[in-house]
């Protein structure tokens, strides 16, 4: 599996897009989606909610388990992906594209984020 070079990654397996006017898109990686199995339910933060790096902001439910969703950065939620709420399987089928989860206006310096190569080394490590 390949991790897009232009994204940054957290050790909790979220990806974060390059900021456009201070707003970044967040999803979970293909590695995380594969580990979860078929995702059947996503609970996302509400638009306008404040999230903090490394803290729980939702949950991802797969056939077998429930996992917390963490925000990779501090910020305010500006948009959530309604398509993925209606069709959680997008997280599995297109984790880096149609399966994105939320957009966040970053309010501070992000915490420790990894490059694509660093993340690839982290998950095989």
């Amino acid at each position: 599996m390949s991790n897009p070079q232009q994204l940054r990654y957290s050790k909790e397996h979220e990806w974060l897009s390059g900021a456009e006017e201070g707003v970044s898109t967040v999803g979970i990686t293909e590695h995380a989606a594969n580990a979860l199995g078929d995702v059947v339910y996503v609970q996302l933060p509400e638009v306008g909610a404040t999230v903090a790096a490394g803290e729980t902001c939702g949950e991802l439910e797969s056939t077998k388990s429930v996992s917390d969703l963490y925000s990779p950065v501090d910020g305010e939620i500006t948009e959530i992906n309604e398509d993925v709420v209606n069709d959680p399987s997008l997280v599995n089928s297109a984790p880096f594209e149609g399966g994105w989860l939320f957009k966040v206006k970053i309010s501070g310096e992000p915490g420790e984020l990894l490059s694509a190569d660093e993340y690839a080394a982290f998950i095989t490590g």
Partner: protein, 375 residues
């Protein structure tokens, strides 16, 4: 358990297929090969191939093999005809369930008891302890067999391409020795998916060849390899209990709604069997004042109830507990099996919720199973 997990004869095959593996009862087993949902749908609509070599086989032979099993188990095993199989249980003297079993009568004086992987040692020990005074021998055959299952509506056609055995004459819950793809096998029409299907007990050395032959024969019919994850959702839809979830030592067969497996009328041992008195009392209790009953729950929403989640009323009063839950691929919504207070066990009862991590989600009480195949 500190030992390294055991691997089946098909371990290299699973890895070559890219299976996600999981520890299950001390065995390293395939959880899924691709999408568990796709595997589930394949079994419901076409066919799936499972490695179940972790199941525990115990052979009981001798002039009093039937008498021993009648005494040790709750079923009427002496009444099983050669070539047939029976779903039964082994209980404690106090009535609690030690395991649920399938017993095959292979010959007049030869039976194969198939135990759950997690309980195989418990069953072996209990049978051995109960064998005193019977002219019968108990053999641990856990390493003697690999077990492959072909399940789904296409499974008879797939198997027919590989065997001369009379599959049309093989009834549900029956088993006969035969040859499949040149491999000696006990061919049984059993399974744990709610579909028609076969379980093939073979020598471990033959497992890879048989797996490959079945894969090839099933290619055009859409057979896919299937892992334990979809096996669990298939059995859940079919309302079949799982040891450690619906069945435990704290539960009698009557509490689990499976009192029919207990046969008080046995011809051998003067009708005596381990657990008889406790089970007779449990039968009376279940009739007159059942504590909790096993029911199905169907979700209106999408949140998935899990084993151990409390069943509650809208105001939060606990009235039961979920024993198994999963999103049902066939129904398209989450389902669960739960023990609930008898007052709430009638299908259609209003106001039953599951506490899903603090949120009370409404559920519809239904009868089991959730899914029954069209015959």
């Amino acid at each position: 358990m500190t030992d390294a997990p055991r691997r089946t004869a098909l371990d290299a095959t699973h890895r070559a297929l890219g299976a996600t593996m999981t520890d299950f009862a001390g065995w390293d087993m395939p959880l899924r090969y691709s999408s568990e949902r796709d595997e589930h749908v394949a079994v419901r609509t076409r066919a799936g191939l499972f490695d179940l070599s972790h199941m525990g086989e115990i052979t009981v032979t001798g002039p009093q093999a039937a008498d021993l099993l009648d005494y040790a188990l709750v079923g009427n095993i002496g009444g099983v005809k050669t070539g047939r199989a029976r779903y039964t249980m082994i209980c404690e003297a106090e009535g609690g369930i030690l395991d649920d079993l399938i017993v095959y009568r292979l010959a007049d004086q030869e039976y194969m008891v198939v135990a759950n992987a997690s309980n195989a040692q418990v069953v072996l020990d209990a049978l051995t302890a109960r064998a005193g005074g019977f002219d019968a021998a108990i053999r641990d055959d856990r390493d003697a067999y690999a077990l492959l299952a072909v399940q789904g509506p296409e499974s008879p056609a797939i198997l027919k391409a590989l065997t001369d055995a009379d599959l049309d004459g093989l009834k549900y819950y029956a088993g006969l020795p035969g040859t499949v793809a040149g491999v000696e096998a006990l061919i049984a029409r059993t399974g744990y998916t709610g579909e028609d299907g076969f379980e093939l007990f073979v020598r471990p050395a033959d497992a890879v060849a048989l797996w490959e032959a079945l894969t090839e024969a099933g290619k055009d019919a859409g057979l896919v390899p299937c892992g334990l994850s979809c096996r669990d959702t298939l059995r859940l839809e079919a309302g079949m209990p799982l040891y450690g979830h619906e069945l435990t030592t704290a539960t009698t067969p009557f509490d689990a709604g499976l009192g029919r497996v207990v046969k008080f009328e046995k011809t051998s041992n003067g009708g005596d069997f381990v657990g008889r008195d406790a089970l007779a009392a449990a039968a009376g209790r279940a009739e007159t004042q059942p504590p909790r009953k096993l029911v199905g729950l169907v979700a209106g929403g999408r949140r998935v109830p899990r084993a151990g989640y409390p069943v509650v009323t809208a105001d939060g009063t606990v009235i039961g507990e979920v024993t198994s839950g999963a999103p049902s691929p066939t129904l398209g919504k989450p389902i669960a099996i739960a023990y609930v207070d008898a007052a709430y066990a009638t299908p259609g009862t209003e106001g039953v919720c599951v506490d899903i991590r603090g949120s009370h989600e409404p559920y519809e009480v239904t009868a089991l199973p959730f899914y029954k195949r069209q015959k």
